[in-house]
């Protein structure tokens, strides 16, 4: 658990972070969103003492971070930044093993851990272990970055725009991957981004920041249904809001299963774990107002009509 209590950071006379309070529960995926210069990176870097806070308290597992030696603190917190943060003169394996080596694990244990992490992140060990960072694509380098952050199995993970430099397709892939990892590992994650779509997709809780303060915090659908002010609304993308909200809801939560199973050869089908956004798009494409919902094995399991899509509950 990470707690920030009335934290302030001053650079000279300027307050980069101003009276900031936030509690991130164990296993929670918390995303800080805001425009550049809003203090989100500063907040993140205060948690592992890359920047020292000026006032207030920061606690990890109810202990003041100031009570730890900064290096010891950082070794128990995973840290991933944009892909350039890999050590260019070390191989992939050596990069991933950085923190375990600092923690003086013995060699076989480090090797086993590196192997395990590469597998976890879909990097073929034989193929990639001895490559240098310059021989990796952006997406591969970022996977290595995430593996390195996870190396010593920290409870807490800080990620500073880790996917910022990637192309849209790779970024979406890695976001999916991160979600999959998080559902297994249940780390406490603080993630910084300026991309609201990324935040909506990943977060359990979004914290919108502006000028060093929290403007609004809540679940993605809280934010979409009730943005606190015009700034949050503009971050959410104005008129696209409806679609973004639809992108958060699964078809399975709105479909009807009480109707008789329809004819199987209907081309207009949607998967149960797709989102309403996909369903709406399919309706527009097929020019129909009812879709057959199928499960993974393509067996019909229910129906979704435009009415169901528009109204929540059992109308």
């Amino acid at each position: 658990m990470i707690e920030l209590r009335n934290v302030t950071k001053r650079f000279g006379d300027e307050r980069a972070v101003n009276d900031f309070s936030l509690t991130v529960e164990d296993g929670e995926f918390c995303v800080l969103v805001g425009t550049s210069g809003c203090g989100k990176s500063t907040t993140l870097r205060m948690i592992n003492r890359l920047i020292e806070h000026s006032d207030g308290q920061i606690l990890i597992d109810r202990q003041q971070i100031r009570s730890f030696n900064p290096q010891a603190l950082r070794r128990r917190i995973g840290y991933a930044i944009q892909s350039t943060g890999l050590f260019p003169h070390w191989s992939v394996a050596r990069n991933i093993g950085t923190v375990p080596r600092l923690l003086k694990w013995d060699k076989p244990r480090i090797e086993a851990r590196v192997r395990e992490l590469m597998e976890l992140l879909g990097l073929d060990h034989d193929n990639f272990a001895e490559r240098m960072p310059s021989q990796l694509s952006g997406g591969q380098a970022q996977r290595v970055g995430v593996a390195r952050a996870l190396a010593a199995d920290p409870d807490t993970l800080l990620m500073d725009e880790p996917f910022g430099a990637l192309d849209p397709i790779t970024r979406v892939n890695l976001q999916e991957e991160l979600l999959r990892l998080q559902s297994r590992l249940k780390k406490t994650i603080v993630f910084v981004t300026h991309d609201m779509d990324e935040a909506l997709k990943l977060a359990d809780r979004i914290v919108v920041m502006d000028a060093g303060r929290i403007v609004q915090q809540g679940t993605p659908s809280d934010l979409l249904s009730a943005p606190a002010n015009a700034f949050v609304e503009s971050l959410l993308g104005g008129a696209d809001r409806g679609l973004k909200q639809a992108g958060l809801i699964r078809v399975s939560s709105r479909m009807r299963t009480d109707l008789p199973a329809p004819q199987a050869v209907d081309p207009a089908t949607v998967a149960a774990d797709d989102t309403l956004r996909v369903a709406l798009s399919l309706m527009l494409w097929h020019r129909c107002d009812t879709l057959t919902v199928v499960d993974r094995s393509n067996t019909p399991v229910g129906q979704l009509s435009l009415r169901d899509l528009l109204h929540s509950g059992s109308s």
């Binding site: 290096q71 930044i81 350039t84 943060g85 890999l86 260019p88 003169h89 950085t98 600092l102 390195r148």
Partner: protein, 374 residues
């Protein structure tokens, strides 16, 4: 390639002279082997030029073969020339290497560089070509037929001095580079911690760099002479107004600017993100310096050592003027006696040393740049 053919035919390839002082008489290719022989050499040469005009991979390899052939045959050609033209009965008669041969050698060298990039030859290829050339020279020399060559004569009359001079030259350069590396690196470290020092330090170093080398040697003469007469232990060490001491000091002075500036740039040039992530991983300052900053700065640092070494090899020759010894001695003796070949005897090893230093440090730097581990 075409130019080298012109040089082969149009310039004297070698000369013969009755003694050391009298300028030699140039001998042209056709005079040596007759018109038929000259044609016999020129035609394949022309063919090689033709092949080089529209290069394919195969043609370039053929040209490369021809270039290597030229390199190998030059010493033997000279040997043949000595046998035929130099009167062995006269003890002072000698043969000189003519302008044509120098130009041919220079141009084939250029061809080799061009072919190297065209065929993307590996380092091993180049080394083996050089080795072949060296073997050709070595066998030609050991056969004794090259003995009348002026360069060889000059060497024979001072072979002991020559070896000593080479070693001395190397020692002077090595000491200067080592000392300036230590001082330059420490200065760079100090400058990283203090913004205020930077401008004055680089200012002073730049000023030293602009003093002409002879003037600097002269300037050091008086204070060093005074110091050594004042303190006995200094003169016991061999520190005097002339000799190795002022030479070493001047060499170090000149080496400091490139060394310090490049070391500074190398250390500062490590991307901030990498340092940031090293800190974020929980590395301490010592770890960050020795495991991240220094290895990443190493290629640029080696570049600094390379530049400094080459510069010092050249400058050390001038140091002979103030009695520091080294290969420069031969150059200045040669100048004094207007004996060209003696100058070449001093200059050639300097050139070779500089080339070797250049190649070695470049290879080392690129090795580390490709991610080799220290």
């Amino acid at each position: 390639m075409g130019l080298s053919l012109l040089a082969l035919l149009g310039l004297p390839l070698a000369s013969s002279q009755p003694n050391r002082i009298v300028p030699g008489e140039g001998v042209f290719l056709w005079e040596m082997v007759g018109w038929v022989g000259a044609l016999g050499i020129a035609l394949p040469w022309l063919a090689a030029v033709g092949l080089a005009v529209r290069p394919t991979r195969g043609r370039s390899w053929a040209v490369l073969g021809f270039v290597v052939l030229i390199l190998i045959s030059v010493p033997w050609g000279l040997a043949a020339f000595c046998l035929a033209y130099v009167d062995l009965e006269q003890p002072y008669a000698r043969g000189g290497i003519g302008a044509g041969t120098w130009v041919v050698l220079f141009l084939t060298g250029l061809c080799l560089v061009e072919l190297r990039s065209r065929l993307s030859l590996s380092r091993r290829h180049i080394v083996s070509i050089l080795a072949l050339t060296l073997i050709a020279w070595a066998t030609a020399l050991s056969s004794g037929w090259l003995e009348p060559l002026a360069l060889v004569r000059e060497y024979a009359s001072r072979s002991d001095q020559f070896l000593a001079a080479v070693l001395y030259h190397l020692a002077l350069v090595g000491a200067a580079v080592a000392i300036s590396l230590v001082i330059g690196f420490s200065l760079a470290l100090a400058l990283r911690h203090s913004e205020r020092l930077r401008t004055p330090v680089f200012g002073v170093l730049s000023v030293i760099q602009t003093i002409p080398s002879l003037a600097l040697f002269g300037l050091l003469l008086a204070p060093l002479a005074w110091l050594s007469s004042r303190y006995e232990w200094l003169s016991d060490l061999g520190v005097q107004g002339i000799g190795w001491a002022p030479a070493l000091i001047a060499l170090v002075g000149y080496s400091l600017l490139p060394m310090t500036r490049n070391a500074y740039v190398a250390l500062e040039g490590v991307p901030a993100v990498v340092i940031e992530s090293a800190r974020g991983m929980g590395m301490g300052p010592g770890h960050i310096f020795f495991q991240v900053r220094l290895p990443l700065a190493l290629p640029v640092l080696l570049e600094a050592i390379r530049i400094t070494t080459i510069q010092a090899i050249g400058l050390a020759a001038v140091a002979a003027l103030i009695g520091a010894g080294g290969l420069g001695t031969f150059i200045f003796q040669g100048l004094g006696q207007s004996a060209m070949d003696l100058i070449v005897l001093g200059a050639l090893p300097i050139l070779v040393m500089a080339l070797i230093a250049d190649a070695a440090f470049s290879a080392l730097a690129s090795h580390f740049r490709q991610g080799g581990r220290p």
